[in-house]
């Protein structure tokens, strides 16, 4: 039932339904592009990525260089989006901050899915005590709201960007491990896998040719579904000062630091706010469309 599907980025109740249908990824990409909402999301996403990756190459200002004689300059020809309270170029900082906000969201999801993949694969293949132990741990982790677990880890390690990322990885690997394991368990019963084994092909090769591709596709789908909430989490916790420490740029931290300047320099607040919103909505549009496409009921 689609009711337990989560969406709320910062909602403690977030949980994803466990059973996903098997994905045929080539078809999915094409159908995503035909899906109008997904298309908007994808175009937005590509634009944002260009902004943070190509932007710093073609835009000449140094995001870290303060210019104390030119604080809070309004948008103009020299500084396209003006300067912040230390005279740093706002556009350059938005690009650098975006690299940190978006890059770290992808990094966390990448680490989480790799960790989940490795643990789930070993658990599914080996069975026995490791499987039992890992899955009990997964049960416990999944029973706790992710936000609460993240707070526990940041609370122990202390505020800091790396600590925040570690906390997010620790608090969200479990679902990926369970998904991988259940996929592996089903795959082991599959006709093609059994035939390959009977033909004398070693497990190592079978895993690479028959199991891994399917698992990866599934993980990519889940990563897409979680991307929006991850961006919101990272910028939200940085907003509270638990992530990036000054003077480094990050959208959530920039937003937090510019609140007072709003009446005087609204562009400082609106820039990161709009970019955070666009990133989350881009990821969510793609994620939603993916869910629509993969939902067997919708395909009937």
């Amino acid at each position: 039932m689609s009711f337990t599907r989560p969406f709320n980025p910062l909602d403690a109740a977030a949980e994803i339904e466990t059973a996903l249908p098997v994905v045929k990824h080539r078809k999915v990409t094409a159908r995503l592009w035909r899906h109008s909402q997904a298309r908007i999301g994808m175009i937005l996403g590509i634009l944002l990525l260009c902004f943070v990756i190509i932007g710093p190459i073609i835009y000449p200002h140094d995001p870290a260089k303060p210019d104390y004689g030119n604080k809070l300059a309004p948008p103009g020809s020299q500084h396209i989006l003006g300067t912040d309270q230390s005279g740093r170029d706002q556009l350059a900082r938005l690009m650098e901050g975006g690299m940190r906000s978006l890059g770290s969201a992808l990094l966390v999801l990448g680490s989480v899915s790799s960790a989940g993949l490795v643990i789930g694969l070993i658990a599914g293949m080996s069975g026995g005590w490791f499987d039992a132990l890992a899955m009990r741990l997964v049960d416990v982790m999944m029973a706790l709201p992710g936000m609460v677990m993240a707070i526990a880890v940041v609370g122990v390690l202390g505020p800091g960007f790396i600590n925040l990322l570690v906390a997010l990885v620790i608090s969200s690997w479990a679902y990926y491990a369970r998904l991988t394991r259940s996929y592996v368990l089903t795959a082991r019963q599959r006709q093609d896998v059994i035939s390959a084994r009977l033909a004398g092909i070693g497990w190592g090769r079978v895993i690479f040719t028959h199991i891994l591709p399917g698992v990866l596709t599934q993980l990519i789908v889940i990563v897409t579904l979680n991307l929006g909430s991850m961006i919101a989490w990272i910028s939200g916790l940085s907003f509270l000062g638990l992530g990036v420490q000054p003077p480094k740029a990050e959208w959530g931290a920039m937003l937090s630091g510019s609140r007072f300047y709003f009446t005087f320099a609204p562009w400082l607040l609106l820039g990161p706010a709009i970019l955070i919103f666009l990133s989350v909505i881009s990821a969510n549009l793609i994620g939603n469309a993916l869910r629509d496409i993969l939902d067997p009921k919708a395909n009937e």
Partner: protein, 531 residues
């Protein structure tokens, strides 16, 4: 179908109305003749309890607690709850209390009450224990008279009595009656100041006028101190008319505040604190006094204070702030001299502009910490300035500067801390003994300089003010000109963001934020000379 639609539209309208319903409008401060609305502070530090031992100093700042002596803007000390303090001989002091003093609850403040505070503080307060030398005896020798006898000459007694955390005068009986439940002290009037505590919780300290204040009837009806750790929210609160005065505003807010109507950036009296740079002399390159001097001369202190910090902090012209009577202005910027010193010491400029000596780059690690956000622009500016002399600076942000400097494993060359060259009570030797003496517990670099030690030791037992000035001047000469192992980058100011009612706000020394004469137009710290 139709009625259903209209029902839905009605429901939508109701939702919208509910969402838009007016909530409450912000209050405005009303002024009447000699009757002033409570003054509303919004500050970053939470006052944790009404325990006078650990939290009493906050109440001194907000006009609740009072001290025996007062340290004032002119750099001198005056009697406050005392009538007089007399130095009978090098080891004996006679303290005489004002006549007719009462606590807010009406009980008399006599010699017994004050001695009870002194005894209780000596038993429980670590600040009192560390400020009063061992073997000191306090005893009642006449009505309203307490005699103090020390084993060694102790000229620091006067600044100690003016220190907000040593002997705030409170009603010991009332405090002991509540045991550990300090919350029950609210409403008992256990201090002597112009305002008494109505309530204290996590959100706010609420004070009301003490109608029986000994120096006169306080003009404000009361004081509210709200605790909001988020600086942005504090400033917004003043802008939105929810508070009159925001304490501890970030310096970077100044330019915006100056350009915004209804809020003003104002200064109190100069602070005795500053950003102190401590050089690690146990490691190369600062084991060489020439490199220490070169680093000290290569920094442009005027630029740090006036350009980088917009004049929100004061230029460090010497080891003590300029307003201190015995200060000399001998800290100079001289890039050429810095280069020359390094040349003479054998540091040669390399290909990339950084000096080298025997294959070692002149590269130093500077530790700063996030609790002081101003250190970010200051350290970045220093980085650019000393680069001109061929010194490379790597800035590292550490969670806790004290932990980092105490930890043996930390690699550092410069540590920056926030601390004064004068104690809160106005004593120079207190801080010299804490930071600069070889045996000082905050001498993290383990630096020894026998010449400075001798001067500090002599100062600690010298009463004569001319002689003291002489010693202090010699100390400053050696410290800044010969061995700048510790020096100041900038001196702090006491800053506030205030609304238009309080745009002339200008509180006096040692953070006395409010007193009995405070009104929107009146801010000078009273002298109590007429009382």
């Amino acid at each position: 179908m139709k009625p259903f639609k209209s029902f839905l539209i009605l429901a939508c309208l109701m939702v919208l109305l509910a969402a838009c319903a007016p909530m409450a409008t912000s209050e405005t401060v009303l002024q009447q003749t000699e009757e002033y609305e409570p003054l509303r502070f919004v500050t970053s530090f939470t006052i944790k309890s009404l325990d006078p031992v650990s939290q009493g100093f906050w109440l001194a700042e907000y006009g609740v607690a009072e001290l025996l002596m007062q340290y004032r803007d002119d750099g001198n000390h005056y009697p406050w709850l005392l009538n007089s303090i007399e130095n009978v001989d090098d080891l004996t002091w006679v303290l005489t209390l004002r006549e007719g003093l009462t606590f807010q609850n009406g009980k008399p403040v006599d010699e017994e009450a004050v001695l009870a505070v002194i005894n209780r503080q000596m038993e429980l307060s670590s600040s009192a224990q560390s400020s009063i030398p061992e073997g000191t005896v306090f005893e009642i020798t006449a009505p309203l008279e307490i005699t103090v006898k020390t084993l060694e000459p102790y000229p620091r007694l006067i600044p100690t009595l003016a220190s907000e955390s040593v002997f705030p005068i409170y009603d010991v009986e009332a405090v002991e009656a509540v045991g550990e439940n300090f919350g029950e002290l609210a409403g008992t009037g256990f201090y002597t100041g112009p305002f008494s505590v109505v309530s204290l919780d996590d959100q706010a300290l609420i004070l009301e006028r003490n109608e029986n204040y000994w120096a006169g009837r306080p003009k404000l009806q009361g004081v509210e101190v709200r605790f909001v750790s988020d600086a942005q929210a504090r400033i917004l609160a003043v802008q939105n008319g929810e508070a009159d005065i925001c304490n501890y505003p970030p310096t970077e807010a100044k330019s915006v505040v100056d350009a915004t109507d209804g809020v003003n950036f104002v200064y109190g009296w100069p602070s005795s604190g500053g950003f102190r740079a401590i050089l690690n002399t146990q490691e190369s390159p600062f084991d060489d006094p020439a490199v220490r001097k070169a680093f000290n001369r290569a920094i442009d202190y005027a630029v740090l204070a006036n350009d980088v910090m917009d004049g929100v902090v004061k230029q460090a012209t010497g080891f003590f702030p300029e307003w201190v009577p015995f200060s000399i202005q001998n800290q100079v910027t001289d890039l050429e001299q810095a280069k020359q010193l390094l040349d003479e010491a054998g540091w040669v400029v390399g290909d990339d502009g950084i000096r080298e000596k025997d294959g070692e780059r002149l590269s130093i690690i500077m530790l700063i910490y996030p609790q002081q956000p101003d250190l970010v622009p200051i350290s970045e500016a220093i980085q650019a300035q000393v680069l001109e002399a061929g010194i490379e600076v790597e800035i590292q942000l550490v969670d806790s500067i004290f932990d980092a400097l105490t930890d043996e494993s930390t690699v550092w060359d410069v540590g920056v801390t926030s601390g004064g060259s004068l104690s809160f009570g106005g004593s120079p030797e207190q801080s010299l003994l804490t930071y600069d003496h070889s045996e000082a517990y905050r001498n993290w670099a383990g630096h020894t300089n026998p010449e400075l030690d001798a001067l500090i030791d002599e100062l600690a037992v010298t009463f004569d003010s001319e002689k003291r000035t002489e010693i202090l001047k010699e100390f400053q000469r050696v410290r800044v000109e010969e061995d700048p192992q510790q020096f100041f980058l900038t001196f702090h100011t006491t800053r506030f963001i205030v609304n238009d009612n309080y745009q002339d706000y200008h509180p006096g020394m040692a953070l006395y934020f409010v007193h009995y004469l405070t009104t929107p137009g009146e801010y000078e710290t009273p002298t109590f000379e007429d009382n």
